[in-house]
Homo-oligomer: 346 residues x 2
Amino acid sequence: DLNQHENYFNRETLDRLAVKRTDKVWLEAKQNNPDTVYLLFSNLSPMVNSSQEDDNARVETKLCRFRYEAVKELLEKPATVLIFLGVEKRKKPSSSSSKTEDGVQEPPAWFAISTNEDPAALLKLCREKNCSFPKLPNRDLLKFSEEEAGVVAQARSTLAWHDRYSFCPTCGSSTKLEEGGYKRSCLNSDCRSLKGVHSTCYPQVCPVVIMLVIHPDGNQCLLGRKKIFPAGMFSCLAGFIEPGEAIEEAVRREVEEESGVKVGPVQYVSCQPWPMPSNLMIGCMAVAISTDIKVDENEIEEARWFPRQQVIDSLCRGASPAFFVPPRQTIAHQLIKHWIGMNSNL
Amino acid sequence: DLNQHENYFNRETLDRLAVKRTDKVWLEAKQNNPDTVYLLFSNLSPMVNSSQEDDNARVETKLCRFRYEAVKELLEKPATVLIFLGVEKRKKPSSSSSKTEDGVQEPPAWFAISTNEDPAALLKLCREKNCSFPKLPNRDLLKFSEEEAGVVAQARSTLAWHDRYSFCPTCGSSTKLEEGGYKRSCLNSDCRSLKGVHSTCYPQVCPVVIMLVIHPDGNQCLLGRKKIFPAGMFSCLAGFIEPGEAIEEAVRREVEEESGVKVGPVQYVSCQPWPMPSNLMIGCMAVAISTDIKVDENEIEEARWFPRQQVIDSLCRGASPAFFVPPRQTIAHQLIKHWIGMNSNL
Ligand SMILES: Nc1ncnc2c1ncn2[C@@H]1O[C@H](COP(=O)(O)O)[C@@H](O)[C@H]1O
Ligand SMILES: Nc1ncnc2c1ncn2[C@@H]1O[C@H](COP(=O)(O)O)[C@@H](O)[C@H]1O
Ligand SMILES: [Mg+2]
Ligand SMILES: [Mg+2]
Ligand SMILES: [Mg+2]
Ligand SMILES: [Mg+2]
Ligand SMILES: [Mg+2]
Ligand SMILES: [Mg+2]
Ligand SMILES: [Zn+2]
Ligand SMILES: [Zn+2]
């Protein structure tokens, strides 16, 4: 289960081993290595295997893992995108792993493949039953173990970048993939982006603030709902950090924009990479210095102050809670739980 | 001067008033308003006025401010980029500001103009002497007042985005500027980026971790130097957050990559927007759980554990400090100062 301040999608199961991204010989040897693990993505969804075998009779989703032999042909297709995810962070090397020349055992490497081949044909590559490419990432990608969720976050957000950034933003030319999938370089040799180091060539992460705003009385918190939320669900306010803005200022601006409430002190709590498509959710607690609510109707349908007891009832899924919050895998849920744990007398 | 945890570039002098970005009528009225303030950028440098009149005989830099009449012709040029920065966050409206129909005084709006016209000709637009477009942003943009530094951070990082992202990364077509300069939309009506909301259309901010790593004995900190640093300067380690990565994990990965030192607990301290070109520096303290140093020679020339007393001498610019740290305007300086203040007996 999750440690305090650890969020779903946070766990790093692999050592990214960035130093090897520029080592073409090493990368190619790993690609052909029989111990190497490949994940398959179609339309930014990983192939998964769903079973009912979990202790709590919940559906648990597992990543389908492939060996080189199974994906060899896919790797040859020109539209395939391949990214190096890293090597397993294992303490004890298993006897099956390969040895380098000096006899030291190297842990298995992981790659992710993105392909536009027919999904039905791809599913036949897997020996297991009940495989699929999930359709609703915001729901279906929350069913992995903590370990696999971390790998999915890294792979999906990097592949989403390749999907949206195949052309050079500086000159409009095509680009080529480099450094194990962590760089795209412009193919126009006159392009400015080739002189010096430019952010346009590297995977983008969008920083977002997400905050639980506490009423000046300390006993209520501000939650809002977007029109697209399921009926009855309320969550923390959130928004993209803008250029030239600090985290704390973005919290104040977004809360005021979305709810009309003014915020004083802001405290960072924890963060969560959110791979839909590539956000970094920076979670904060914030203390309101005004209480009147006036929602920005473009973004928020309703915002309300919820008393602590109602929030507790909702988290504990009591008899008939007044509302519900997003699932435990979201940082919004964890921020709300953090507030309840922080200064309640339970 | 700076409050605790406030960094240079952090202060928000303007209310960004994002709700007005889509209100073309309001924006146009503000553009022509005689109270409106325009800043002029050439090659991502603002026009500034430098004087020796500061109390401490230091050179202070001020932004050159223009009125509509002075920039009217520039606004007509097709290559001009215009962004709406916001309105002044004033408590008491001055008697000179314009009134809306119901008689409420509105604070002046600010815009930034980026132009590729001849810089020498542009300088003639200003009535003051000693105006220039500074050449070295990392040095010259650190000389503003706190108030002006915040405006420069917002304007420069947004303009740097326009400079690098004039083509659609998804299809390579040209784009047009919208929403007061906070959006670029693809001109190819078939482009995927026009269906739904896509990060490619909004200004990019790159999140970076910057950390002061403390020795397990609590009395030394880890600082490194890049080859390009001035001789004798050491600073905090730093690196870009990767897709799928949490702040704390990025700190651990970058420290290990750059210095070979393993890190345990990580604590967020404060952050700083850094508009060269558009980074968000997320400042942390980190506790090492190993001490052997092995630098990544591609990135770091040298890394060393510095005893607390040497760091104090360096901050106080004592007789002959063993090394020096970056200037007070950098979050690296502030993190180092924070550590010294945190548990010293001074
Ligand atoms: N990187 C980004 N990705 C997606 N939308 C963005 C981004 N930056 C700004 N936006 C805008 O922010 C809106 C969502 O509002 P908020 O999340 O509250 O900032 C979107 O509808 C976009 O108009
Ligand atoms: N957004 C970005 N902008 C610039 N360089 C980046 C970016 N993301 C990754 N990099 C790479 O990171 C290197 C600097 O290393 P570091 O700052 O330690 O992560 C650069 O030389 C680039 O290769
Ligand atoms: Mg918003
Ligand atoms: Mg926003
Ligand atoms: Mg929002
Ligand atoms: Mg890096
Ligand atoms: Mg690095
Ligand atoms: Mg670095
Ligand atoms: Zn290019
Ligand atoms: Zn396009």
